[in-house]
């Protein structure tokens, strides 16, 4: 009976995994298809026709032409990739610096309206982007940052999510450990660097991966604040898949997948921990 349960559970998990992984496999298989074959399978969906899309797992005739076209003949694609990198990496780095300091303050120091202020942070975190779009737009316009990568980077750096996440990690550090350090004569900076950062590095790591994955898929911010196409990130390209460039878009999706996938594998253990911690109650 136990064995039956085991196999049933395994079958369910495999089924779920298959459903989850299917789009990924389909995308990869489609990226190796010729355009005619691709249109034959999903063309009716792309053109708004009445047919059904089907997705074979193996292409009839494998081709890497679209990869060559994308990586060798289309510098704009690679420019978009670096545009995205140029936004995501400063955002992640900035969040680590700003978020760590702010979270340490919220976690370790007592000051008037601390809880109220943190509540405000959470409230801001809960607000969808569309709500803060106009204020953001006005501020960025006043600062003269419109149509520059800073229009995306600066609001990203000061994200409330980083503060919230890191506070959950840093607040878990035992107060006795900090008291002991103070008794031993450690200053506030020493305590922050030697205890806060040392014990909070899983939180920082999980912030890195969560933030990287979040901002790798940036769409609304660049679409709103950046009008020059030569400054657009790769994430915007992927939203503009059309019938004319279907096979290239599939290849672009696969390439765009590589960086977050590798980052995920690198920070996998921290990511799980971070998600666990972000769900903890104070």
């Amino acid at each position: 009976m136990k064995k039956i349960h085991y196999w049933l559970r395994a079958a369910c998990l495999w089924l779920l995994a298959t459903v989850v992984l299917m789009p990924l496999v389909m995308t990869f298989a489609a990226s190796l298809m010729q355009k005619s074959e691709l249109l034959e399978h999903i063309g009716s969906v792309m053109t708004g026709g009445s047919g059904m899309a089907n997705a074979p797992l193996l292409p009839r005739l494998t081709t890497l032409v679209q990869y060559v076209s994308l990586l060798m003949d289309t510098p704009k694609f690679l420019d978009m990739f670096w545009n995205l990198m140029g936004m995501v990496l400063p955002i992640v780095a900035g969040q680590v610096v700003i978020g760590t300091l702010a979270a340490w303050g919220f976690a370790r120091y007592r000051f008037p309206f601390r809880n109220g202020l943190f509540l405000l942070y959470i409230a801001l975190m809960m607000l969808p982007f569309q709500v803060t779009l106009v204020p953001n737009f006005l501020v960025l316009d006043r600062l003269g940052l419109m149509d520059t990568p800073w229009a995306v980077i600066l609001p990203g750096i000061f994200s409330t999510f980083a503060v919230f996440l890191l506070r959950q990690f840093l607040i878990a550090i035992p107060e006795s450990l900090i008291e002991a350090a103070r008794i031993d004569g450690a200053g506030e900076l020493r305590i922050f660097f030697s205890i806060g950062l040392a014990l909070g590095h899983p939180g920082i790591a999980s912030l890195c991966i969560l933030s990287f994955l979040d901002y790798w898929n940036l769409i609304e911010q660049p679409m709103t604040f950046i009008s020059s196409q030569d400054k657009w990130p790769l994430s915007l390209y992927l939203t503009r898949i059309g019938e004319s460039n279907l096979e290239v878009a599939m290849a672009a999706s696969v390439i765009a997948l590589i960086a977050p996938l590798l980052m995920f594998f690198y920070f996998e253990s921290y990511l799980v921990k971070g998600i666990q911690m972000s769900g903890m109650k104070e």
Binding site: T74, D79, M80, W82, I258, L262
Partner: protein, 446 residues
């Protein structure tokens, strides 16, 4: 239950993922550099322009040389050796300047030798005549002279009668013809008898021949003397009636031909050391006294827009003046080109100076003017490339689309065209490499 320690395995995969990420970034850098280099090499950069409405301004700038409005030929009737040419082609001369020097030495020698031969013949003929006179004696001479007179009289009568016979034969009167014929026959008989009398006397005939030979020798001598004297007069040597062989006395036999007026030597047909041919003028000198001509050679296209009577600015000798086109004629030297002529006053400069023409003419207004750099042509005809903007996921892509056009008119920089373009179209002008329809291009920054 056995606990499996998965930490080292996870650490390995983490390390692998980190390295793979670095390799991935390095690969992307490499591909970025490569694709940019490939794009630089394969995609042409073109300058985009838009057609404009306006008029063409035909501007023609060309140079020519001033020349006199008339030419004076220097004619030498003698065929004589040219010793020296002192005024080469293109040189400017003043009145009285030496043009070239003729050497009459050979001619003089030949004429003097002819004179001597004639003189010798005359002496011999005189001697023979004297001897013949002596043989005949005084009576004989008188008799011979009488016979000669009779012969001359008979010959005269015969001529008259033959003339009358010819007139009578033109009429119908047979009687008159018969009478005239008889008269002529009679005159012929008289003439024959007189001639027989002279021919029958050998000495008389010899005397007559000698007399005729003497007359001929005298005539030859006179002619030789006249030729020789004429030569001496023509040359710079002093003319003499004594028939001195001047060449033998080392007198100059050179004749310097002088310029009749100031001007530029336009054409030289004589060469030092060669014999001048009398069939053509030795030189031609421009005569500026009647004004100057400026001939400007222009292309067929330029000439099409120009017309006689139109004005153009001329710069001659550093001075600008407006002048009217007097004629436009096809160029003989360069087929396909035309010569635009201007008549200018003599005071403007000298023949041989360079003059520059600045001709400007504005055309009617055209709806579509494009720079010539955007106009292309092949065996099908003239065309332009329209830059078609394609908004793709990777931004704006520019491709070239061919549009055939008809050229209405053009000047040195722009052309008025009609065809499949509008003023909103962007056209590809200069490009850094050759392009074809359908090619992707980049727009230059300028």
């Amino acid at each position: 239950m056995q606990q499996v320690n998965t930490a080292p395995k996870k650490e390995n995969s983490r390390t692998f993922a980190g390295k793979a990420f670095v390799v991935f970034l390095a690969l992307m850098v490499l591909l970025t550099l490569t694709s940019r280099a490939l794009e630089e090499m394969t995609i042409a950069t073109v300058q985009a322009i838009r057609p404009q409405r306006g008029s063409l301004e035909k501007q023609v700038t060309a140079e020519g040389t001033l020349r006199a409005s008339s030419l004076t030929p220097i004619v030498i009737a003698d065929e004589v050796r040219v010793k020296e040419v002192t005024a080469p082609e293109g040189s400017m001369v003043q009145t009285g300047d030496a043009l070239f020097v003729l050497d009459y030495q050979t001619e003089a020698k030949r004429l003097y030798e002819a004179y001597l031969a004639a003189s010798d013949s005359q002496v011999k003929a005189q001697q023979a005549f004297t001897w013949a006179s002596a043989d005949l004696g005084e009576d004989g001479i008188k008799r011979m002279e009488s016979r000669v007179k009779s012969l001359a009289s008979a010959a005269k009568q015969l001529d008259e009668d033959l003339s009358e016979l010819a007139q009578a034969q033109q009429g119908d009167d047979s009687y008159t013809i018969r009478i005239a014929k008889r008269n002529a026959e009679d005159a012929q008989d008289v003439y024959d008898a007189a001639k027989q009398r002279i021919d029958g006397a050998t000495i008389t005939r010899d005397y007559t021949e000698k007399q005729l030979a003497l007359q001929e020798a005298n005539e030859k001598l006179e002619q030789s003397a006249a030729d020789y004297l004429a030569l001496l007069t023509a040359s710079d040597g002093a003319a003499t009636n004594n028939m001195i062989p001047a060449f033998a006395e080392n007198q100059p036999y050179l004749r310097t031909i002088l310029a009749p007026h100031a001007g530029t030597v336009q054409k030289v047909n004589v060469t030092a050391g060669a014999t001048h041919s009398a069939s053509q003028p030795a030189m031609q000198i421009s005569d500026s006294s009647n004004g100057l001509l400026l001939d400007i050679t222009v292309s067929n296209d330029d000439a099409k827009d120009m017309a006689v009577g139109e004005s153009a600015s001329l710069v001659v000798n550093g001075q600008m003046t407006d002048s009217v086109i007097t004629s436009i004629v096809p160029s003989e030297e360069s087929p396909g080109s035309y010569i635009v002529k201007f008549q200018l006053p003599a005071s403007i400069g000298d023949a041989g100076m360079r003059g520059t023409m600045y001709y400007t003419k504005r055309s009617q207004t055209y709806q579509t003017l494009i720079p010539l750099s955007a106009l292309r042509s092949d065996e099908i005809g003239d065309f332009v490339y329209i830059i078609s903007q394609g908004d793709t996921a990777l931004g704006m892509h520019q491709t070239l689309v061919r549009a055939d056009v008809i050229i209405l008119k053009k000047d040195s920089t722009r052309a008025a065209v009609q065809g499949g373009i509008t003023q909103q179209d962007q056209l590809a002008a200069r490009s850094d490499r050759s392009v074809e329809a359908g090619d992707r291009v980049k727009l230059s920054e300028e």
